[in-house]
Amino acid sequence: MFLLAAALLIQPAIEPQTDWDKEFGIEEKVRDPVTGEFPVDPYVRDNRHAGATPFSGSAMAEAFGGQDGIRRIANRTVELSEADLRIAAIFVSHDMVRLKRTLFEQFCYILNAGCYYSGRDMATSHKDLGIRMRDMNALVENLQAAMREEKIPFAAQSRFLSKLAPMSGDVITR
């Protein structure tokens, strides 16, 4: 008891916390009150940034349940990946609000379900993530799981993946 009291007494007084962000000149990022997203450096928007030409016709969009189904799949893929211990660390400092939106737009655009893609291109958006092939495989498995939950036929799942698989060169950086 006495030792504990002594230990508490000799503890140094708590110093005022240093604002390290200020010391190093880092500005605090503030989420946009409307979109809930962090601001990003300006870039030119172009559908070609989606990294694939869209399917023609409406069959794929219908197979995926239109924009509602696609949004559920995009959100679920992100949620499964955030909870996936294999790749969760990649998303720790990521703007998940923006990711869910841009991933939905990309899926929707490629599936020809009536969207524009407003995100950055695949090389730019993945360049600092340090993604390895096994990480991309884990993401594919999560996307497959999300598509299964939406009861997307396997042939349509693979057909969609055929548009994403060639992006591996831009996504896998190490």
Partner: protein, 294 residues
Amino acid sequence: MDQPLLRFSAALLLVLATAAPAQAEDTPLIDGGKLLLTNGVATIEGTSGGGVASWSTIAGRETDRGIGLSGHVTLIELPDYGWQSHGFAVGIANRIELSYARQNFDTRDVGAALGLGEGYTLNQDIFAAKVRLLGDVVYGDPLLPQISVGIEHKRNRDTPVALAVGAAHGKGTDVTISATKLFLSHSVLVNATARLTKANQTGLLGFGAAGKNDHSLQFEGSIAYQLSRRAVIGAEYRTKPDNLAFAREDDWLDLFAAYALTKNLTVTAAYVDLGSIATFHKQRGGMLSAQFAF
């Protein structure tokens, strides 16, 4: 259950349970990052492929940053013969595959007819290496297949029998080049392999023959349709040399179905038509193979 054993089991479980998460964090050498079925299934020669045809795939479930392992057992039941083979393979960084397989070919009554003795078993060891040169089965340019070159050194363990039926050698080396691609847009996998070989019935009847002692160019083709993440069906065709004078040798074909029961266990069942073997025709039967991969 007696106390010490119970305590030991509990301790072991505790060690395993605590070791597992630690392993997940510092990305172990063996953690199986490949997509299901993209490591293929073991061939009768121990390489990874489609069962009868070798593919450009690298065995094991590891991607480019670790070491994958694979082991298999294959049984083929034919009208006059029984086949059993087993082996293992190591896949290094999804680049190099090293494999070993042992083939045991039971001649049953044919053994007696050929004067070898009933149930005489022809045996062979196969040591193989395969290197992925370029491309990826799944990723990258959708029209660029994964291409690998391989070498299979075969050592017949019944050389006197092979020589007696007219083979020139008891040992031989095959060279293969394979191209494999999964065309996701159609859920179809296609493989084409060219093989330089002297092997008579894969080498179980030796290599070459008098006057036919050159390697000949043979072809192996596979086409498969993926039904689900776990299930695939397909067909394969494999041409073979016809060196021996005493018996005709036919091309092989098979129709297979493979299912990944778990990410580590794939079971393959096939109908195989191995044609005429050592004067006994119409060797059509069933093949069953189990592969464990990590």
